[in-house]
């Protein structure tokens, strides 16, 4: 039974840790693979800050002798979904996109001459969807998931962007003595091979999130391992004493115990790995869905067994057990041969220890707090987080002790007096488990608050951003114009063109939109900072709006000036929130956009109409213009889809939260079991003085519930601090947006009740055991004390 707890504790800790590890490594590997295939990282790129590159610029560079490969990138609707289409020059593109010759036979001529070929990973578009495609499809597992590739000529045609190039890859091997690129094409911007682009930065932050959870579970795991190892030694105390009394050298005894613990750790670690694998396999599809939905990063939903996390799991189990074991052994070494285990616990000695611990905790918190001021950046945000959490955990025993002595002073009646005093004297033994509980609860509150704040903000933001009832994407500019004039002819209340050009703002790729002046924007747009009469400024062409990401990354705020394209400077009139989009974005008036950029497609627009007439109008449009259903999106549908994506993001977080709480409750159980042999001699006298076993058992249950409850109360401020750090520090650093913090007292209440349950469940076993204990066994306790 006790062996089972020990093994189970170790296994749980290892399991939690390795599950997170497994998910992380898997996702990371998938991403690296994709990045490799896309060639995102390996090549320098040439791009134009002012939009697409013209073909003659490309020709000029080639004439000068530079080996470059043109790429045209755009979005394309295929088989009812929207994909990134990457048009490459198949002859110079540095990576293979066609499948290996023995899998499918594609001749270069087919690819290069009309209608051309599309290449996509079998997971992206299935062969069965062939019929719906404008160009024959070749499935190839060399193409990253989620992307469609083709020859650049075909892409020009499909995207309706003849003669345009989005960027050029500068190939690795170049002839010697070339004139510098900055002389040939001074207007183009050369970007060095990037270690990570926006996509990887975003996914990284998600992984960071998971890693933070992993670390937390590691800490909680260590607490448990510590507790269980302590349990193992506690049970052998008597044996050690006897062995030593018989003259067996202490060193030998200790070595034997260590070996025993090591073997147990290996067995339990193995079990934990299996557990972790199961959990990871269950969660991975969700993680994959989250990453795909949120960031478009390709992650396969299946899990491979990997040596790294195998090793790290076993390592954690061993290291944890040995660390905890050393501590326990140290106590055994100090164990006098003759005295019996602890009757001496008035709680006097522990008070000083608590105070010292709390001081260390304060120091840790201060260090964490000072970090962002000194260093800045995402890492310091996490240091702050770690400092806060660990510092608070260390301060917990003192805080608990103070709270309990406050209550103790108010207590009426002998039993109440004993209960509170005893509770306080029990703190040293339980403090580790309670720390684990504190951390688990605080994380739960913190992450929960973040998630709920995010959800709420995001929902409101969607309402504002998606104010139009219908969104239409025409197949061509010409069709767009026809639809627009038809709509303007009394069919809709208003037609709002959505037209945009790609550009670079403060050295980042950004999309710039042109809008017409309309109440839809004036009433709804989610501005977070603005100059007075901001919409007038945009309308008369003197002001530009930028999104929050751009504002925070470039530290640009209303009143500052910004350069949306080469040789074009504007004053920022406002900043708006723009969640779920990693890139920069800006808004100017439509005439201004058209005067600055050529060939801005005119295929998308929003339609204002009373919501009940929207479905009818949609039908009419589909009929009149013979549009595919995917060309018209209903606002309500978009909202549902977007919200679904974000909901998924946090499924994993939620699951991990519940896991940590369960594990923390297990930590309390192991501590209670560890203390059991010491606890009985403290309870038996009360029984002898006239309390029934049932009553004592109830008090034991109550004790655990009270401790969990007080810990839960103390976890609240910590959790809120954690939420604030996540929302205002970590989020800004990793995503570029800051979220307002909302409070959810009902969630706290629910969590607090859960904590009480955790305390009750943990104490149920020992309490039941006490209730069933025969009197002779209790009397034996007295005999043993002699």
């Amino acid at each position: 039974m006790q062996l089972a707890t020990l093994v189970l504790g170790l296994a749980l800790a290892t399991g939690l840790w390795s599950a997170v590890q497994a998910i992380n490594t898997q996702a990371r590997e998938n991403y690296a693979e994709a990045a490799e295939r896309l060639g995102i990282n390996r090549f320098a790129t040439l791009s134009s800050p002012s939009g697409p590159i013209a073909v003659d610029t490309y020709v000029r560079i080639r004439r000068a002798g530079w080996q470059v490969s043109p790429v045209l990138e755009g979005r394309i609707g295929l088989a009812g979904r929207s994909f990134t289409l990457l048009g490459v020059d198949v002859l110079t593109y540095p990576m293979e996109i066609a499948p290996q010759a023995d899998e499918a036979d594609v001749s270069p001529a087919d690819v290069l001459t009309a209608p051309g070929r599309l290449f996509a990973h079998p997971d992206t578009i299935r062969n069965t969807e062939q019929a719906a495609l404008p160009v024959p499809l070749v499935t190839s597992d060399r193409v990253p998931r989620g992307i469609v590739m083709t020859d650049i000529g075909t892409a020009e045609r499909l995207l309706d962007r003849p003669g345009q190039i989005s960027r050029m890859l500068v190939l690795a091997s170049q002839p010697r003595d070339l004139p510098p690129l900055s002389d040939i094409v001074p207007t183009l911007k050369l970007t060095a091979p990037r270690a990570g682009d926006d996509l990887s930065r975003l996914t990284d932050s998600f992984h960071l999130n998971l890693t933070a959870f992993g670390l937390l579970s590691f800490a909680v795991g260590l607490f448990i391992v510590h507790g269980t190892a302590g349990l193992a030694f506690e049970q052998r105390r008597g044996m050690v004493r006897t062995l030593r009394a018989l003259g067996v050298p202490l060193g030998l005894v200790m070595r034997l115990l260590m070996v025993e613990l090591g073997i147990l750790a290996l067995v339990a670690g193995g079990l934990g790995l299996v557990l972790g694998y199961v959990v990871a396999a269950a969660l991975l599809p969700d993680v994959a869905a989250t990453l795909r939905g949120l960031y478009g990063a390709p992650v396969s939903g299946s899990l491979r067994l990997q040596p790294e996390w195998f090793a790290s799991g076993i390592g954690m189990s061993l290291a944890g057990a040995l660390a905890a074991g050393t501590h326990a052994l140290w106590q055994v070494r100090r164990l006098p041969i003759l005295t019996a285990p602890g009757q001496h616990s008035s709680g006097l000695a522990s008070e000083t220890a608590f105070r010292r611990q709390a001081q260390a905790g304060v120091a840790m918190m201060l260090f964490g707090l000072s970090c962002p001021w000194l260093l800045g950046g995402l890492v310091s945000g996490f240091v702050l987080l770690a400092g806060l959490m660990l510092g608070a955990a260390l301060m917990l025993p003192l805080a608990l002790s103070r709270v309990l002595s406050l209550i103790e002073n108010r207590a009426q009646g002998a039993l109440a007096e004993w209960f509170w005093a005893d509770l306080r004297s029990q703190l040293p033994g339980l403090s580790l488990a309670l720390m684990a509980l504190l951390l688990a609860l605080a994380t739960n509150i913190g992450v929960g608050t973040m998630v709920s704040s995010f959800r709420l903000t995001f929902g409101g933001w969607l309402d504002q951003r998606l104010a139009s009832e219908l969104y239409i994407t025409a197949r061509s500019n010409e069709e767009g114009r026809r639809i627009e004039s038809w709509l303007s002819d009394g069919q809709a209340d208003a037609v709002l063109p959505i037209r945009h050009a790609e550009t670079w703002i403060v050295n980042q790729p950004a999309r710039i939109y042109g809008i017409v002046d309309h109440a839809t924007y004036r009433d709804n747009w989610p501005l977070i900072a603005s100059l007075p009469s901001v919409w007038d400024r945009v309308a008369d062409g003197t002001g530009i709006l930028i999104n929050e990401q751009l504002a925070r990354r470039g530290d640009l705020w209303p009143g500052d000036s910004v350069t949306p394209a080469a040789g074009w400077t504007m004053t920022i009139a406002g900043v708006y929130s723009d969640y779920g989009n990693p890139d920069g974005q800006a808004i100017v008036s439509l005439p201004l956009l058209l005067s600055r950029f050529d060939g801005v497609p005119a295929r998308q627009f929003g339609v204002r109409i009373s919501p009940d007439r929207a479905p009818m109008l949609k039908d009419a449009l589909l009929r009149n213009f013979d549009l595919p259903a995917s060309a018209i999106a209903n606002q309500a549908e978009i909202k549902d889809r977007s919200i679904a994506v974000f909901e998924k993001t946090f499924v994993v977080t939620g699951a991990l939260n519940v896991l940590t709480l369960g594990v923390a409750s297990f930590a309390i159980l192991t501590s209670l079991l560890t203390l059991w042999t010491m606890r009985l001699p403290q309870l038996a006298p009360l029984w002898a003085l006239g309390l029934t076993r049932r009553k004592l058992a109830r008090l034991e249950l109550l004790r655990s519930v009270v401790l969990a409850g007080v810990t839960g109360l103390l976890a609240l401020p910590l959790g809120l601090a954690l939420a604030w750090v996540l929302l205002a520090v970590i989020n800004v650093e990793s995503f570029g947006w800051r979220l307002p913090m909302h409070l959810f007292p009902l969630d706290w209440l629910r969590l607090w009740l859960l904590a009480l349950c955790a305390g009750a469940i943990a104490a149920a076993l020992p309490a039941r055991r006490l209730n069933r204990m025969p009197p002779s066994a209790l009397l034996k306790v007295f005999a043993d004390e002699r």
Binding site: S345, A414, W418, Q682, A688, G690, L691, S776, F782, A783
Partner: protein, 218 residues
């Protein structure tokens, strides 16, 4: 008769031996009377005290307290007995480590709902514990702890005070002083005292002296 032990047998279900610890033990004790019980180590003296204080059940026979039979009592009734008419001073004291001396002294009486602050203040003086009221048991010497344990039992004002080798760990002078005190307090309150001891000297100071041997009392 305050206490009437009739033909009690008690066997512990220990691995091999099923030889009874008590085998038809009989004993009577009147109100206010003092009694010493001696016997070899392991003869079952503590066991008898445990049975009399309703801590454990017995196999056959009966124990009557003030005419009331113990064997049919429920757990709750037995517990009430232990914080009412019967108090036991344990061989190993069983002070409560997380409570102060004063709290320990009052604890049993308060549990039984018979606390009398003036009486307890008096006890502190009589037991020579003045100045130590706010210490914890671990901060006391063995003799001081013993006095707290005795005081705790007396503060309950039981009708029957049981004491299991109350002077076992004390030197002769101290044990004499403790015994004087006990007899004094017991006589003042009209309490009956049933004391287990190894010392013939102490046994001689009681009204009666019985010996437990082979599970029987002679």
């Amino acid at each position: 008769m305050l206490l009437d032990v009739q033909n009690v047998t008690k066997t512990y279900p220990v691995a091999d031996s099923t030889r009874p610890v008590l085998d038809g033990a009989c004993l009577t004790l009147g109100a206010g009377e003092t009694l010493a019980l001696t016997g070899e180590s392991g003869s079952g003296k503590s066991t008898l005290l445990h049975l009399v204080s309703a801590l454990d059940g017995f196999d056959s026979g009966e124990i009557l307290l003030d005419g009331m039979a113990m064997s049919p009592l429920s757990d709750v009734q037995k517990a009430a007995l232990r914080r009412g008419p019967v108090a036991l001073v344990f061989q190993q004291l069983n002070l409560i480590p997380s409570l102060t001396v004063l709290q320990n002294l009052a604890f049993h009486a308060r549990l039984g709902g018979r606390e009398d602050p003036r009486q307890i203040a008096g006890l502190v003086d009589r037991l020579g514990l003045a100045g130590l009221e706010n210490r914890y048991p671990e901060q006391l010497s063995g003799g001081q702890q013993q006095r707290v344990a005795i005081g705790r039992a007396i503060a309950l004002r039981p009708r029957l005070l049981l004491a299991d080798e109350p002077t076992g760990n004390l030197d002769e002078t101290t044990s004499d002083a403790v015994l004087d005190l006990m007899l004094d307090l017991v006589r003042g309150a009209g309490t009956a005292l049933f004391l287990v001891t190894h010392s013939p000297r102490i046994a001689a100071r009681m009204d009666r002296h019985l010996v437990l041997k082979n599970g029987r009392i002679t």
